[in-house]
């Protein structure tokens, strides 16, 4: 038998070689010739392309061709060669023959250059009323093309007609050298704008600088607002004096330190490291400075393990802890990629977390678990149901030791429900990755869909929803955080729009470039009254081994909402070696599950600016792992919930944990 196989291999190879040679020579004899060697289009221009197949002698063959775009989102190409340019740039079109064998197939590429529309206008955005001698201002320009699009990829050349009076660099920094007139010209393509102006006498005789922490201790992470004032020799303020801020750092530890602080041109400053910081404010040839000392934040507190409930047969997903109708405390945890279980625990004594019941439903993943405020009804989600109907299961948890099924609800939820929230007798069920259905559970045995919220953006996708004061905050990957009025009440931090469960009304949104928005949690700072929504990432750029240890990425985005129309991302919490998952805020303390980074407890009191991780705001951390866990001795923390002075958390690898945050042992702040 071995001999036969050997002969067959040798002869097979020989036959294959001959066939391939024949095929290749046949394919190589032909080529695709486009009507044009290159295609140049204007934006939104349509055209029809053609090509033919010719043999070695140049004769046209009968081969069929098909065309397609290599840049579908920029250049539309139909199989028969209709082309429309919907974005500017350099793209390519492939023409290929319709043949069975790959070796017979020939293809060719047509380069397409879709020109950007010509520049229509260039304008100055921030020309001041006065330009004082020796001062420097930053001139900003705006370029708009004929398609009405603001362009940031056009080279704008700036020049001064009189550089001895005022010179300008390539970055728009305009510096006054002496009194006199000048003209600044901004040229983009063949359009230009001019700004005729003059350098006037500088009235600034002196400068003062103050800050809002005078007499108070400044800790790392505290946002200090510096205000510099330029004055005339009479002591009057020069209100329109351009002022620039910078700092000189003398950190306590200067052994290879990185950036120790940051300062905004509004004068807001935050130190990441303790030390001395000299804040310098300049306006022209005048300057002033003041030195402050930043001390360690010293917010660290002990975090001790109180108890754990190890789940060793499957992965654990979300958790919810609540006070039962009998006054005892209970928790429910979901399971991931397992047998469709929701596990109920008695956590009255967190040092003795005890499983008391398990509900098994037709699913592979019970990703989310939620319990109503009155502690009577739970909702668990289903994904991977064998009948593919998925949906939610509504449970009677009046007696968590004997949980009963109220109802199964799958209407319009067959795409799988990934997350839910229970609010005011309605379940908000995020389903099919596209929308959330709003389901009335006044009668939990007969749930009824009363509303739906779905974005209408291209390729929209949703992951989670959280509700506070009648406003639903959903996390929508590339569409970011979306706030929707589903019955806002007087407690809401920002005004609603008359929405209801039957009529959800979008209020505002905030998206960020990575498209990793996986969670959203609103909170009002107890210390400042500022209203934020924390947008949380989920990312696995290093892949994920479902049977081993892992590493995630991504961070928390602190988005400050002063109103629905102008959200601003002001701070982040980013642990370099880990990534965020679920989180919770209670009393200016953030509890965040960082997957492989375990649980982090973070002080988010005061104004927030910059990277909170760098500022020593971390109060405590904990890495749950257990040798008896489903994935032993590996941390992958899923979600936390502060409850009655304890912190409960679920860990994907190991189950449910209870921790206690102790009192600070530090002696003051310095």
């Amino acid at each position: 038998m071995k001999k036969i196989n050997f002969i067959s291999r040798i002869s097979g190879i020989a036959v294959l070689a001959v066939v391939l040679l024949a095929v290749n020579s046949k394919a190589q004899d032909k080529k695709i010739v486009f009507e044009k060697e290159m295609l140049s289009l204007k934006l939104n221009e349509e055209t029809k392309i053609s090509a033919k197949v010719v043999d070695a002698e140049g004769n046209t063959t009968q081969d069929s061709l098909v065309f397609f775009s290599r840049n579908r989102r920029s250049l539309i190409v139909t199989p028969d060669g209709n082309v429309k340019a919907i974005q500017s740039g350099k793209f390519s079109i492939i023409a290929r023959t319709l043949t069975a064998n790959r070796e017979d197939r020939i293809s060719a590429t047509l380069a397409v250059d879709v020109a950007y529309p010509p520049v229509k206008s260039v304008t100055f955005l921030n020309a001041p009323e006065n330009f004082y001698n020796t001062t420097t201002i930053s001139l900003e320009t705006k370029v708009v093309d004929e398609a009405g699009v603001t362009r940031d990829n056009v080279d704008v050349k700036l020049s001064s007609s009189n550089p001895d009076v005022a010179s300008i660099d390539a970055f728009g920094n305009l510096k006054a050298h002496k009194k006199g007139s000048f003209t600044i010209t901004a040229k983009a393509e063949n359009k230009s704008a001019t700004w005729k102006f003059k350098v006037s006498e500088n009235p600034i005789a002196s400068m003062d600088i103050t800050h809002n922490y005078d007499g108070k201790t400044i800790r790392t992470g505290d946002v200090v607002a510096f205000e510099a004032i330029a004055k005339t020799n009479k002591g009057d303020a020069v209100e329109d004096a351009p002022i620039k801020y910078t700092y000189i750092a003398e950190p306590d530890d200067n052994l290879g330190q990185g950036a120790s602080a940051q300062i905004a041109q509004s004068g807001k400053f935050v130190a990441s490291d303790p030390g001395l910081f000299t804040i310098v404010a300049t306006s022209g040839d005048k300057s002033t400075s003041t030195t402050v000392k930043a001390v360690p934040r010293n917010v660290q507190r002990p975090l001790t393990l109180v108890g754990k409930g190890i789940v060793s047969h499957t992965r654990t997903s979300d958790l919810w802890v609540w006070e039962g109708v009998d006054g005892r405390d209970y928790a429910v945890t979901g399971t991931w990629g397992g047998n469709g279980e929701a596990i109920f625990w008695d956590v009255t004594d967190p040092s003795k977390i005890t499983p008391i019941d398990t509900v098994v439903v037709d699913a592979r993943t019970v990703n989310d678990v939620k319990v109503s405020e009155d502690g009577k009804v739970a909702v668990i989600t289903r994904e991977g149901a064998s009948d593919r109907k998925n949906g939610i299961i509504i449970l009677d948890v009046t007696n968590p030791r004997d949980v009963k099924v109220h109802s199964e609800y799958t209407q319009d939820l067959t795409g799988g429900v990934h997350n839910t929230f229970i609010y005011d007798n309605h379940v908000y069920a995020v389903n099919n990755g596209r929308k959330y259905d709003i389901i009335n559970i006044d009668d939990p045995k007969n749930p009824k869909t009363v509303g739906v919220f779905e974005l209408d953006t291209p390729s929209h996708s949703i992951h989670d929803v959280w509700i506070q004061d009648g406003i639903a905050y959903s996390s929508n990957w590339s569409d970011g955080i979306v706030a929707v009025d589903i019955g806002s009440n007087a407690s809401a931090d920002l005004p609603g729009a008359g929405g209801s469960p039957e009529n959800p009304v979008q209020l505002g949104s905030y998206a960020y470039p990575s498209g990793w928005n996986h969670a959203a949690f609103p909170f009002k700072s107890e210390s400042t009254g500022d209203f934020y929504v924390i947008g949380g990432d989920e990312a696995f750029p290093y892949g994920l081994d479902t049977e081993g240890a892992n590493r995630a990425a991504g961070w928390l985005h602190f988005v400050k909402f002063d109103d629905w129309d102008s959200p601003a991302e002001v701070a982040r919490y980013q642990v370099p070696e880990a990534g965020t998952h679920n989180y919770w805020v209670e009393g200016d303390v953030l509890y965040v599950a960082m997957y492989n980074g375990g649980l982090r407890v973070v002080d988010i009191s005061g104004e927030l600016m910059g990277d909170l991780y760098d500022q020593g705001r971390e109060i405590a951390s904990f890495y749950p792992s257990d040798s008896e866990a489903y994935i032993p001795n590996a941390t992958f923390t899923w979600g936390p919930q502060p409850y009655k002075g304890y912190i409960f958390l679920s860990d994907w690898n190991s189950g449910i944990w209870a921790l206690k945050l102790g009192e600070s042992t530090s002696q003051g702040t310095n």
Binding site: M1, S8, R72, G338
Partner: protein
């Protein structure tokens, strides 16, 4: 003279292999199967000598680690060099992934529509045709994405019925067949023309209902739509948004609330067809009537239903043997496999599967074995049940990841 000698040298071993029946040698058989709730693909090996089977290799698939992405459809290029996998879930669209057979390394991916499912590459055009099942979306027309498998680019999306499934292509590669589950229709696509040739109602009483849209103008309608979207620059989005169109299509009764207060008035599907497979040599297509418990034979020359075979409960996938003599169907509703003699139209064997929810069928190229993927329920592992088509007995069971679904026969090699 030299050429003659070379020809003899090459011909001798070829003739040897042609004359010696391959079945006289023991064979190793290989199939790929996707575990939809495990995000894994297994390469299953069957030793034809001992009838012992095992997982030879497991390949992790999908793109989002803490979500179940759902590998659903799987197929192999005609030359056996690559295998292709549809991943059902994404943000929000599914995708097509291309892997090298043997090494199983990921080569490339491309985004498709909602819940892409079954697929096949045409031997005529070399293009891949994959249905966007849109299983969990609104009951609206979906598409068949046509993909260049070399460049892994979508060439076009052909509009089709509601919940299209079961993409299979004639042996000559010229026609692709799939079914529209929620409109009880069989669709025929011209693989070179990239358009719907014709549709056929599979209902027993195939009568045109009031208000029902005639699909005979389907390709024309698509052309008009396409031209419109070319003009307004929304072609790309249109292709995706076709799933979201709120038009009265045909044949489905939508319960429940819809946005804008619209209620779609569709007749409830009777047949719920879930698979179509053309006969390898004759002008027939066989369809699994998942809702009517039957196998339906369509004569593609007459373009009419010619026979209906009573089947087990809820047939889901099916495959006609390569010699065209038998048909193997998975009975999803009863965890069993049915084997039909196509001459008589009789079910000649029904084999109980190793667990509930039988899903996919793949027949070995020598017609000796049928490989059935069986999903299981909940945390129960899936399986591949292997049936000896000589004896119509189950000879092996291989446990797989959860919800074994898409399955394809790769190769058999002499031991």
């Amino acid at each position: 003279m030299k050429n003659h000698k070379l020809f003899s040298f090459l011909l001798t071993p070829i003739l040897f292999f042609l004359l010696v029946p391959s079945a006289s040698f023991s064979q190793d058989y290989y199939v790929y199967v996707a575990a939809e709730s495990e995000d894994e693909v297994h390469l299953i090996h069957l030793d034809g000598k001992t009838n012992k089977a095992e997982i030879a290799k497991t390949i992790q698939v999908g793109r989002y680690p803490t979500e179940t992405d759902g590998p659903h459809g799987i197929n192999i290029s005609p030359d056996g060099e690559y295998w292709f996998l549809s991943i059902a879930h994404g943000n929000p669209y599914g995708m097509l992934a291309k892997y090298k057979t043997g090494t199983d390394e990921l080569v490339a991916t491309t985004d498709l529509g909602m819940f892409p499912a079954s697929m096949e590459i045409s031997k005529s055009t070399g293009l891949l045709y994959v249905v966007n099942f849109n299983l969990h979306g609104d009951m609206v027309p979906s598409t068949v994405s046509v993909v260049d498998p070399d460049y892994m680019e979508v060439i076009t999306d052909i509009k089709t019925g509601i919940m299209p499934h079961g993409s299979r292509i004639t042996d000559d590669g010229t026609k692709q067949y799939h079914v529209s589950m929620m409109t009880d229709e069989l669709y025929e696509i011209n693989t070179a023309g990239l358009n719907v040739n014709r549709t056929l109602s599979l209902k027993k009483s195939a009568m045109k209902m009031d208000g029902m849209k005639d699909h005979s103008d389907h390709s024309e309608e698509h052309k008009e739509n396409h031209e419109k979207h070319m003009k307004d620059g929304t072609h790309e989005e249109h292709s995706k948004k076709e799933n979201e169109m709120k038009e009265d299509h045909s044949g489905h009764d939508m319960d429940g609330m819809k946005k804008n207060g619209m209620k779609m008035m569709h007749a409830k599907p009777e047949v719920k067809p879930t698979w179509a497979d053309p006969h390898p040599t004759k002008p027939f297509v066989y369809v699994a009537g998942n809702g009517s418990d039957e196998i339906i034979e369509i004569d593609t020359e007459k373009w009419a239903v010619t026979r209906r075979f009573k089947s087990g409960k809820a047939p889901y996938n099916l495959e006609v043997s390569h010699d065209g003599k038998i048909l193997v169907a998975s009975y999803k509703g009863e965890g069993a496999t049915g084997i039909f003699d196509l001459e008589s139209g009789k079910e000649i064997a029904k084999i109980k599967n190793s667990r509930k929810v039988t899903h996919g069928v793949a027949i070995s190229s020598d017609n000796r074995y049928a490989f059935l993927s069986v999903e299981g329920i909940g945390g129960e592992p899936g399986s591949v049940d292997i049936i000896d088509l000589k004896t119509n007995k189950r000879v092996a069971v291989v446990e797989t990841g959860k919800q074994a679904g898409g399955i394809v026969f790769w190769k058999q090699v002499a031991q």
